[in-house]
């Protein structure tokens, strides 16, 4: 892999990791966004987008709520998009999604570790010795550590993807419709979870879901 490409992917992974919780939260960290951009860097935005769509379906119910446990979508999307760009779709989508899920879990675990580490050096309001310098240093340290964390998670995922994804795709035996079908079937469970999270808007919500489903099927039949 070219050094410039590697640096670009790592930079994207770091930016997506920071955007996830620490900085801006402008949703560069969503798998759909990160994967499309990573795919573009590798040479195929469309492949990256396909991986991003599937991974986003898995991550749709995942949001960074307070102190809860959540998988991290930014580095996951970068790894998935790069993988799909490196290995021809549709077979390449399988290791892309697989790695995306694994990296997402790894990223989420690393965020929990980071938050415990942050707790060790943020200012103690009861210490009686607070200074602006201490506040700035603690906050800056938190941002720096999050960037480092995101870079490490992304690097690990990219390493496995670059070395293992072509082998994994070579071992994939299902054809394109069945590959996509399997991936979409897996993504159906998190979509059900999205509906479960929105139970407060029954029955209008269910009516909307049904109308939308009918419209989607019709569109799928009518459009080329």
């Amino acid at each position: 892999m070219e050094l410039i490409l590697l640096a670009s992917l790592l930079a994207l992974g770091v930016a997506a990791a920071l955007d996830g919780t620490s900085l801006f939260q402008a949703m560069l960290s969503r798998p759909f966004v990160a994967a499309t951009l990573a795919g573009a860097l590798v040479g195929s935005a469309t492949s990256g987008m396909l991986a991003g769509i599937i991974l986003e379906l898995f991550f749709l119910p995942v949001v960074p709520v307070g102190g809860g446990r959540f998988a991290e979508g930014g580095p996951a999307g970068v790894v998935a998009g790069a993988t799909a760009g490196w290995v021809a779709v549709p077979a390449g989508l399988v290791p892309a999604v697989l790695l995306g899920l694994v990296v997402g879990g790894l990223g989420g675990a690393s965020i929990r570790i980071l938050r415990r580490v942050n707790g060790r050096f943020v200012p103690d309001p009861l210490a009686g010795t607070l200074s602006p310098r201490e506040v700035r240093r603690a906050h800056g340290m938190g941002l720096l550590l999050d960037a480092l964390r995101g870079g490490i998670v992304t690097a690990l995922g990219l390493a496995v993807a670059y070395l293992g994804a072509p082998l994994a795709a070579a071992g994939w035996r299902l054809d394109a419709p069945h590959t996509i079908g399997l991936l979409l079937a897996g993504a159906a469970l998190p979509l059900g979870l999205v509906v479960a999270n929105l139970r407060g808007v029954r029955p209008a919500g269910f009516l909307a879901l049904g109308v939308g489903l009918g419209a989607g099927v019709l569109l799928g039949l009518v459009l080329p």
Partner: protein, 248 residues
């Protein structure tokens, strides 16, 4: 309010990094104090003891949705500039942190984000260029995101401790419900498109549609407890199929 020139702008801009030192002990506390630093140094810089006490009350435990933390920052900016008693400021922060968290989660994480993302995914599945779907999502989502932050900060800065009334009047929860209904409509459209057209590979084969319906119902009925297990299980399934393909 004391003349603090452009300091409120600095506080607002720092709010974009408010979660930079999130931790399980003080949660957003350290970030809240960081965001207010320029203001506190201007107001109390010549009295180290008052500055220290101001820092203590603002790095203390606090939590809110990151976008709606702007409401609290604006209100506290106003209260500090008006010389509100420290105990009043503490009570205000304690009173708003729950509502600002719950409201933000409902409006943004459970409504705005999934709805705009679903709209972008529909555009992508319909075959539009990746860049169209991407730019659509980032532009529309962040228009709402920035509006919420700017509105929240301005309302907080204007009303100070009385901002709670403004939040009630804005009927944010009602807006969240409306957006969620649109989100469910788009989810249905997306599911229909994926069943009929896959991802450009033609109609999804029936066995996978059936499996998908079953898993969808499980997700809907079992909720969050099923996601983690399902994600891990699906990853194992894919890995197993890959290994089988390589070995056999």
């Amino acid at each position: 309010m004391k003349n603090v020139n452009s300091l409120p702008v600095k506080v607002f801009l720092r709010s974009f990094a408010i979660q930079g030192s999130w931790n399980y002990r003080t949660m957003l506390g350290s970030g809240f104090g960081f965001a207010l630093l320029p203001l506190l140094e201007r107001l109390f810089g010549e009295d180290p003891e008052r500055l220290r006490k101001a820092l203590e009350r603002h790095v203390d435990h606090f939590n809110a949705h990151p976008y709606l933390s702007a409401v609290a920052l604006g209100a506290v900016t106003r209260m500090e500039c008006d010389g509100a008693p420290p105990e009043q400021i503490r009570r205000f922060k304690t009173a708003v942190r729950g509502p600002l968290g719950g409201l933000g989660d409902t409006l943004v994480w459970a409504a705005w984000l999934p709805t705009v993302m679903l709209a972008a995914l529909v555009l992508a599945v319909l075959g539009l260029s990746p860049w169209v779907a991407l730019v659509f999502f980032l532009a529309v989502y962040n228009a709402g995101h920035l509006f919420l932050r700017i509105w929240g900060f301005r309302v907080g800065l204007r009303d100070g401790a009385a901002v709670a009334g403004q939040l009630r009047g804005a009927a944010l929860a009602e807006w969240a419900r409306r957006i969620q209904v649109i989100g469910l409509l788009l989810l249905g459209v997306l599911m229909g498109l994926l069943v009929e057209g896959g991802l450009g590979t033609g109609a999804t084969p029936f066995p996978w549609v059936a499996a998908g319906v079953l898993l969808f119902l499980i997700g809907m009925l079992r909720g969050r407890e099923a996601w983690r297990a399902a994600g891990a299980g699906f990853a194992l399934l894919l890995a197993g199929i890959i290994v089988a393909g390589m070995v056999l």
